[in-house]
């Protein structure tokens, strides 16, 4: 029998036994004991952000880049509510997090005590598991459960609400090696019969197509996926989250499908006769009008989450399995297929409508991203949410040396910059590039201080078009250019019926270059194409985080585009 120890000691013991060397923490009255315990442990480094939303996205970026579980520690009340957006983001994109929220002492719960909120209640639908520790003797088991649940099956965020008195109470000192949870049995096998059925269907197809979602990247099964594609010669389209499942320069890779997908990719989904999908939940941004989605295809669906299968799209062959296991089996059977003609058809579509932005209106995102592709041989690209994100999913080239991180499911503006900091903290030897818009960047600007403090030398590329561009694009196309609430230059004195930029427009704020400099970071402004490459060169020489502001054409839009709810083959191309 080990001696009794305090809850705070057991907590740190648990972190050490789980191999946690980095935690993201923001202090407050109800976590001071934990923080004090961490002070004694040099082997765990604590990252202090400047806002809890920044904190949780940093933990997400760390988890997405390393594949390890991100650990967050925040205080009760506002500390806890500030991480809610990040929990939802991680839940949607299946990111393993263990979040510890401080809580008022047990005897005060329910009294509307200072900084008391029912955070477990608030986050029930956006966490994989959440619980308040009510008995010190359960603490070890609950922590073990948290790490186990976060990482296994379909990963996700777990929230442990830890009352202050539990942190100081004496209790058992053991941290269990394993834990059995009777209601939680993540799928660890694959139904061979079903998989065989799915493979037979694929093999019999004349126009087969792989549709790959984020599941391959999460399972880190990219090598196996590539091998399967090479063996079968079946073309591949990806979702936003699935991008990078196979190298983007591979002859079998068509591109992203969906709302802003490549013309050829959406046409391929529309015309294929067998759609073999892995690790996607057929989100509305991928399917468009459900009745018109892959109308000629029989659909095979491999996913680790039973609830993702046959929810949005009714499939012909459902297969519940981890992508890794399914691919291992498929590789045993895989044989080359006659896809020559089908590939030529896809090529034709590609030539009909290639991905291309016009070059006669100044510096375009395409020019910047193509230069980025040349400059970045390996590293991590993190995006925020909006037009720049869609351009990045269209133009960024990926291979086994490059990773792409984005907020796909929740579409959280303000995600990109902190996530890039977290990725850099997790992978200090890799180049980390953040692509953001001028809107999203301003949602977690304060993390510039965190980047400085952590010496996280990320290169932030802000695509500044003076607008909240994704919404402005909709206003441009569907709302008669009535730019309500999307112009970031707009001031009180501006005319109410403004239809776009003109000579009388007020100056833009903030001045991102000066802002970066005020934090001691490096700021560069790029206004024309010739300056792009030198700016990246300069950024590499800076010994600090760098912020490059690209002044792009203001009314540039993301094309192709499918209007929400329309069939994916009805694309706006010009």
């Amino acid at each position: 029998m080990a001696m009794d120890i305090t809850g705070r000691k057991l907590f740190v013991k648990a972190l050490l036994e789980e191999g946690v060397d980095t935690v993201f923490g923001y202090p407050g009255g109800m976590v001071t004991d934990i923080m004090d315990e961490l002070y004694k442990h040099e082997e765990i480094s604590l990252v202090l952000p400047r806002h809890e939303q920044g904190l949780v996205h940093e933990a997400e970026g760390y988890a997405r880049a390393t594949g390890r579980t991100g650990v967050c520690i925040v205080t009760s009340g506002p500390g806890a509510t500030n991480i809610i957006t990040g929990l939802a983001d991680a839940h949607y994109d299946s990111i393993p997090l263990v979040c510890i929220t401080g809580q008022v002492p047990l005897n005060l719960i329910g009294n509307d005590a200072f900084q008391e909120v029912d955070i477990v209640g608030m986050t029930r639908s956006i966490t994989k598991y959440g619980v308040t520790v009510r008995d010190r003797k359960d603490l070890g088991k609950i922590l073990k459960m948290a790490f186990h649940i976060a990482k296994t099956g379909r990963p996700g965020p777990v929230l442990i609400d830890l009352p202050k008195d539990i942190q100081t109470a004496m209790g058992p000192g053991e941290y269990p090696l394993s834990v059995a949870i009777r209601g939680y049995k993540p799928n660890e096998s694959v139904h061979i019969g079903q998989l065989k059925k799915g493979y037979k269907l694929l093999k019999s197809a004349k126009r087969p197509l792989f549709l790959i979602g984020g599941g391959i990247n999460i399972a880190r099964a990219n090598d196996k996926m590539l091998e399967l594609v090479e063996k079968t010669r079946v073309p591949v389209v990806t979702t936003v989250m699935g991008k990078g499942a196979v190298p983007t320069d591979h002859p079998c890779y068509v591109g992203n499908s969906g709302m802003h997908g490549r013309y050829a990719a959406n046409m391929a989904v529309g015309e294929c006769d067998v759609l073999f999908s892995i690790g996607t939940r057929f989100n509305d941004r991928i399917t468009g009008d459900l009745n018109e989605f892959a109308p000629k295809a029989q659909i095979v669906h491999v996913d680790i989450d039973t609830a993702s299968i046959s929810r949005n799209v009714v499939v012909d062959v459902p297969i519940v399995a981890d992508a890794n296991l399914a691919l291992e089996k498929l590789l045993e059977w895989a044989e080359p297929q006659q896809t020559q003609e089908w590939m030529e058809q896809i090529q034709e579509w590609n030539q009909e409508n290639p991905l291309e932005m016009r070059r006669d209106r100044g510096m375009t995102p395409q020019m910047i991203l193509e230069e980025l592709n040349r400059q970045l041989q390996e590293g991590i690209i993190v995006t925020d949410v909006g037009q720049h994100q869609m351009w990045a999913t269209q133009y960024i080239e990926l291979n086994e040396k490059k990773q792409f991180i984005t907020s796909g499911g929740l579409g959280t503006m303000g995600f990109g910059f902190p996530a890039a900091i977290g990725a850099k903290i997790g992978c200090p030897d890799k180049t980390v590039i953040c692509i953001s818009g001028d809107g999203g960047m301003q949602m977690n600007l304060q993390e510039l201080a965190t980047a400085m403090a952590q010496d996280a030398k990320v290169i932030v590329c802000i695509f500044n078009n003076y607008y909240l561009g994704m919404v402005r694009q909709m206003q441009q196309l569907f709302y008669g250019k009535r730019y309500e609430a999307t112009c970031l230059r707009r001031r009180k004195g501006c005319p109410g019926d403004c239809k776009g930029p003109n000579a009388a427009c007020p100056p833009y704020e903030p001045d991102f270059v000066k802002l970066a400099e005020s934090y001691g970071a490096c700021g560069i402004r790029v206004t024309k194409e010739e300056e792009i490459a030198p700016a990246f060169e300069q950024a590499k020489q800076c010994g600090t985080p760098v912020l490059i502001e690209f002044m792009i054409a203001t009314e540039e839009i993301v094309l192709p585009m499918v209007k929400g709810g329309n069939p994916m083959t009805e694309m706006i191309l010009k």
Binding site: G121, R124, T132, G183, D305, T306, R311
Partner: protein, 174 residues
């Protein structure tokens, strides 16, 4: 096909589990008719009986969503299974005349329910019937009497032992 379906759930007997289950139904717009919960022979486990109205696809989704919850130990689908199902119902009829009382005794006899309390101008019926049968009784009382007070407990269901006990006892008259 949209119809009423029965699910029995074994769940962890812990704080917040009921909120989590009911939150799933409201959050995902599933149509819940009734939910009952109580502890079982194992005090760490609670059992719920849930009646939902849904089509086949939604019902499959409901079962999957319940199954993936960490706190849910087992999901049992009673659709197309022989089950015993009962619901407790109290019906208090007020402002009764003497004739009303006589009629209520007749109704109680026909429905096989107990008259468990009586006052100068009111009568309390205690019923243990299927939900459907309880609905029928309530409809009848509403059509006949002005002042009624109803409290019902929601159905509880358990699988039949002898499958010969004829189809689904939900439809038994008694």
């Amino acid at each position: 096909m949209t119809k009423n379906r029965w699910i029995a759930l074994y769940v962890e007997n812990q704080v917040g589990v009921l909120a989590k289950i009911s939150g799933l139904f409201s959050g995902k717009s599933y149509n819940m008719q009734s939910l009952t919960v109580g502890t079982t022979e194992d005090e760490t486990v609670s059992r719920m009986t849930i009646c939902v109205t849904s089509d086949d696809i939604t019902f499959e989704q409901i079962k999957k969503q319940l199954n993936r919850m960490v706190e849910v130990i087992k999901v049992m689908d009673f659709t197309d299974k022989p089950i015993h199902m009962k619901e407790i119902l109290f019906a208090k009829v007020k402002e009764c005349t003497v004739e009303d009382k006589a009629e209520l005794f007749q109704i109680a006899q026909v429905f096989h329910v107990e008259v468990s309390d009586i006052g100068t101008d009111s009568i309390l019926l205690e019923c243990k019937m299927t939900e459907r049968r309880n609905n029928e009784l309530i409809d009848l009382l509403k059509s006949k009497f002005k002042q009624i007070e109803i409290v019902r407990g929601g159905g509880v269901a358990i699988e039949s032992i002898s499958t010969s006990c004829a189809g689904r006892s939900e439809y038994f008259r008694k």
